[in-house]
Assembly symmetry: C2
């Protein structure tokens, strides 16, 4: 096959970046409004940029150390020479995606407020198109990174045998996923701690003690709170999904290279297929973005409809196009494979709907939580946690169905031979491409996600500048819409993380193969005397050789450690938020006490001090959990070998996924239970029920915006670290 | 080998039951104190018994249905004919152990109060010896059940080949574990919901709203609260540990029968070894119980020392005796196997110490939670959850070490061949016997555990009868001591559940072997054409045949479902407590409103009404989570076959264990953070910090006493159900 098909990938990348630039420019042409609005926006922008600079400094240090380690490993032949470079670009592009997204968001918020002074529709347009910048930058940079690396490696890697050359290329490219993961982890954890320290601190003293509303300019932590939305929800989310997007495409390519090794005619196409589906998804996303428009006098329902129209149209067409793409590429089982993609898409949608059901106050679960606030904060917490735990059923059942269907469908549901050496590669390729399906329209789904914090900040700007109630009402409506789309977005983020991690699990075994070959181990010798060539061994052969079964105590030990990692990681990030928030509370209390006239509006609070407390807190607290996520997989590898690592990854994936859903949904439900009461139910604002609900919301903050989302990355990063360290693991480990 | 050794088992059983009877009689000779004390005790006793009767009615119904199903399965040859009977006796004895323990506890509490009027030491003696009744009844009935069934099956099962006869006997006996599990689950879940509905309800209205102290007779829910301690902490705990104790002994016996199949001289001894270690542990427990005595004018420290002396002496001697027993039985690797037992014992101790560190307010973690109460309830919840999640590290690391050491040690640390067909059986036998080691001194460790609620009730009795402050101070001291020993006890309960579940995982594969043989499948045919006789296949052969590897999508799907089960189960029980507590709150508020003079002490509240609300709430709410625990493993079996079930069990074990530790430790820490403030720190009783800490304590109630402990049973019950249903799973499954 010629490379012609491939060029749609860099083309899509350029399109995405081009439109991102176009939307950015158009947004910048709008006015930021009054002087006061400009000043506030400027404060937030500066706070966000200064934080991001700090964060990049820490991350740069970590990257320097890791690159050094990889270079040493490459020198000793435990990895190939491209790995340090791939790792670096992955990290760089992931950081860049977050940076551009945040830059855009901080420019867009005041402009959204100003547009909302005219109409709801104008506000939506600015906020959504700015969110689209983020979505398009992420997919554009991802496809750019993928295209460039593919071309470089295709040129430089020398191998007489095309089949193995493609395996070398794709497995090397996978390692830039680790760079993206590492960057994403720091962004999510650091950003998450920052935003919630500020938010919790601002709420505890402002709303609860001083009795002033959210985003009130008298609250010293209010700028930090708005900065937090940008560094956590925009930059963090961007880096996270950049990583899932790359990870799913690259692991599918790697699995394709291996599954089709004996069919050279199809191998290259199997490598290109996920890239091309993603590329077509980019065009459809841009198309969808343009569909999001409504009448000037639109109400909430019409706005929601407009957003849904964009997202659903893109999803619908990518489902159709998948059949076309896979047919044109010439896959024999194009229908089956297409259904894998659709299974992924559907799972994402169902998870999103489930999240909506369990977190929106239009439905029973959240209303019940609101009702339980009548007996105080304790029952709010108990019922919120109970409901969140129960809500894990829908995502798990969706993922289980997606796994089984996307595996079996490319095999024509040949259940009897589903695990034969010929079939397993194809089945796993099906699971991997399901993740690609779920993420193919990321350009637009991420736009609806990034739109949320922009609307949130727009509301903050309106409140701080004391704009008319009508404007504040409009920005509140935009914010509420953002909360709903965020629920769906979280469903995609979490579902795609699970499927991507599964694909990475399979890719890990491919890296083990490469590691063995690099060490010169060309033959697997089994206990019964049988031998299999490493280059031709199936994944089942590897499973048997390394005895990655559930009766192997190393696998079981790994599962325990993996499950623990999810909880330990959450515990550390929860405590980090708690500690940083407490410092914020003390600072705000101090300012109220020492700076006379703050509460009467006669004196300006020291916003900068609060920004710097959040920044320092996040810097200080993000290191330990992030480093653990990198170090533990390495430690497990050198003590318990391949089987221990597989156990670790599977245990971490199972527990981490369920824990992440639980935390996200409990947090979301508490947030909306509070809003439900604020809308005048059960006594409304200021009632005891409301106070109890505020406690729930505050507990939910780190749940849904720090610990929960960071788990997405933890489960991917642990896989990525294992993949990069595969060479070390196969060369030596304590218990074999 | 003659059966001589074996008779030490029924002998130990009779000794245990005899001493239990003796301690019971001696306790009954003591006076219950004043008329009022007697009346209160009578109320509690009646409430507890009436609840237990209700619970047994529901359980009897469930048992009737299950026995019917098993009989049908036996009729169709999917199970052997003994299973329904074994299942019934397991359930019956487990219920009996809870019943006797609770009966004793409800008689002992007023007597403890009365003894505490004389001295601290007298109070300790009554409470502890009554706890010992429970400990000894549990181990006595367990060994009785085991002995009788062994003798019956040995007599009736006909098989030309002794080796396979022993396998038949031990795997059949395993199924009475499912009876015990089912009973235990209902006891834990029902009792847990009962006790926390009453406790949370009593606290929310009494302490928080009306501002009256705990156990105040003016609070209508106070009797229900005291009843709850008995039905949850005594009867529930008894049934739980009865089940772990039987499960560990029986699964070790089953694994021994299989591991030594080719060595007839040792096989019978391998079956007897866990029973004999347990039997010797009974004698040492009784010895230890007699060591718990101190001077008349003893203070708290001396009491603690007295308790520790008893427990530690028993543990020390069982470690020594294990070497002797295994040497005398003639095991070649007696030293290695003994170290497996010691690894189990040590893991139990370390987990207990870790629990102590993370839940006692003598240490930093709990003090930090107390400090965070100064910024309100939200930060108390956040820091308590964070700390609880971090606390999972110690138990997981302990269990991982215990697994690896107890597996490798009987193999002489032959790491290279640790998974060879010859070694795997022996290694798994090592893991199983480690669980036996952990539980061997259950007679005394359970005594220190059951002592807690007795002391708690004694305090309640003193408060309700308005006894002198000096007495209340003494009962408080006894209660505080009980909280510390409960922490250690929980460590053992949770650690032993994990190791037992691992042993059951291996036993499950043995049941699959039996299931295949019963279906007439005598040969495993592999994809590569190789064949292995089912009767001689190693567990690794089964793993390969059923492809229970981490690349099998059914295994991965199972892991997801297992992880979800732990959360779903917790969510359902949390919500159940929330709902039942809300009903209790409404009832108490109603009584305060409608019965004039309650708060001034002029009118007597309607205690019975609250007791009946808790009873009904528990009955109603326990059914769904309990049935799920039974039905899901069956469903997974018939859809995804053996590999799906193994994934389910491993996923449930990993997540369930970590989640259980987290919930128990968060709950314990909140409780003690509140006590720390009540001792006069950070503002003391009545301060805002105290109010925030009470919220934490209330949230912690269902964490530590309902959902957390029920998880112990969930992970064992799911294994037990799978074991009993193995015949069905191998005969047919949708994907399998």
């Amino acid at each position: 096959m010629s490379m012609n098909y491939f060029y749609v990938v860099p083309l899509a990348s350029l399109f995405a970046l081009g439109f991102a630039f176009y939307f950015f420019k158009r947004m910048m042409r709008e006015s930021e409004g009054t002087e006061k609005m400009k000043t506030i926006a400027q404060y937030v922008r500066e706070g966000a940029m200064s934080y991001l600079k700090q964060q990049y400094k820490v991350v740069a240090l970590v990257f320097a150390v890791l690159v050094l380690i990889f270079s040493v490993m490459a020198y000793f032949g435990l990895q190939n020479n491209w790995v340090p470079f791939a790792f670096l670009t992955g990290g760089f592009f992931s950081g860049l995606a977050g940076f551009f997204g945040m830059k855009t968001a901080t420019y867009a918020s005041a402009r959204t407020t100003n547009a909302a002074r005219k109409s709801l529709n104008k506000g939506l347009q600015i906020a959504f198109r700015s969110g689209a910048v983020m979505g398009l930058v992420v997919v554009g940079l991802a496809l750019l990174d993928i295209s460039v690396w593919y071309l470089i490696l295709d040129h430089f890697i020398e191998n007489a045998d095309t089949g193995h050359k493609l395996i070398m290329i794709t497995t090397t490219m996978l390692t830039f996923g680790m760079g993206a993961s590492t960057q994403a982890l720091f962004a999510r954890v650091g950003g998450g701690i920052y935003t919630k320290a500020a938010d919790v601190g601002a709420d505890l003293v402002g709303k609860v003690e001083a009795g002033i509303p959210e985003d009130d300019p008298r609250n010293p932590a209010t700028i930090a709170d708005n900065v937090g939305d940008n560094v956590g929800d925009v930059a963090g989310m961007g880096a996270d999904l950049y990583e899932s997007y790359c990870g799913s495409i690259l692991s599918t390519a790697a699995l394709g290279a291996s599954a089709f090794i004996s069919n050279p005619a199809m191998q290259q196409k199997a490598v290109f297929a996920p890239m091309i589906i993603a590329a077509v998804g980019v065009f459809l996303s841009i198309f969808g973005i343009f569909l999001v428009r409504t009448k000037e006098d639109a109400d909430m329902k019409m706005l929601m409809k407009a957003l849904n129209r964009g997202v659903n149209t893109s999803a619908f067409f990518i489902a159709i196009f998948t059949f076309v793409i896979l047919f044109l590429l010439g896959f024999e089982n194009w229908i089956g494979l297409s259904f894998s993609v659709i299974a992924g898409l559907l799972a994402g949608i169902v998870i999103g709907q489930g999240t909506e059901y369990f977190t929106s106050h239009s439905y029973k679960p959240t209303r019940r939580i609101a009702e339980s606030s009548q007996t105080g904060p304790a029952t709010v917490i108990i019922s919120g946690m109970g409901s969140g735990m129960i809500s894990t059923v829908i995502p798990v059942v969706s993922i289980v169905f997606a796994i089984l269907i996307s595996y079996l469908s490319p095999l024509g549901f040949d259940i009897k031979n589903m695990l034969s050496a010929e079939n397993i590669g194809m089945g796993l390729y099906g699971i991997a491409i399901a993740a690609v399906g779920m993420l193919s329209t990321l350009g637009i789904t991420l736009a609806t996600d990034a739109y949320g914090p922009i609307a949130d900040n727009a509301g903050g700007n309106a409140e701080m500048c004391g704009l008319e109630p009508e404007v504040r009402k409009r920005t509140d409506a935009l914010d509420a819409l953002g909360n709903t789309t965020a629920a769906t977005g979280k469903g995609f983020a979490i579902g795609s993380a699970a499927l991507t991690a599964l694909a990475l699990l399979a890719s890990y075994m491919e890296e083990i193969r490469i590691g063995l070959l690099r060490l010169g181990d060309t033959v697997l010798e089994f206990a019964d005397g049988n031998t299999v060539e490493v280059a031709k061994a199936s994944l089942i052969d590897f499973m048997n050789y390394f005895q990655v079964t559930l009766m192997n105590p190393k696998v079981l030990a790994g599962i325990f450690i993996g499950s623990m990692m999810a909880f330990l990681f959450c515990g550390l990030t929860m405590n980090a938020v708690g500690r940083a928030a407490q410092k914020m509370v003390e600072e705000v209390r101090r300012q109220f006490r020492e700076i006379k006239g703050i509460l009467t509006g006669e004196a300006v609070p020291d916003y900068a001090r609060c920004v710097s407390i959040s920044t320092k807190g996040a810097q200080h607290e993000m290191l330990l959990p992030s480093l653990l996520a990198i170090i533990i997989p390495i430690l497990v590898g050198i003590t318990m070998g391949v089987s221990g690592v597989m156990g670790l990854l599977a245990g971490g994936l199972g527990s981490g996924f369920v824990l992440a859903v639980f935390m996200a949904n409990s947090g979301g439900a508490w947030d909306n239970a509070k809003k439900y009461i604020e809308e005048g139910n059960l006594g409304g604002k200021g009632s005891d029920a409301h106070k109890a609900a505020v406690v729930g919301d505050t507990v939910g903050d780190p749940f849904k915006d720090t610990s929960g989302p960071s788990l997405n990355i933890l489960i991917k990063l642990m896989s990525m670290v294992s993949i990069v360290m595969a060479g070390l693991t196969v060369s030596w480990s304590l218990l074999g």
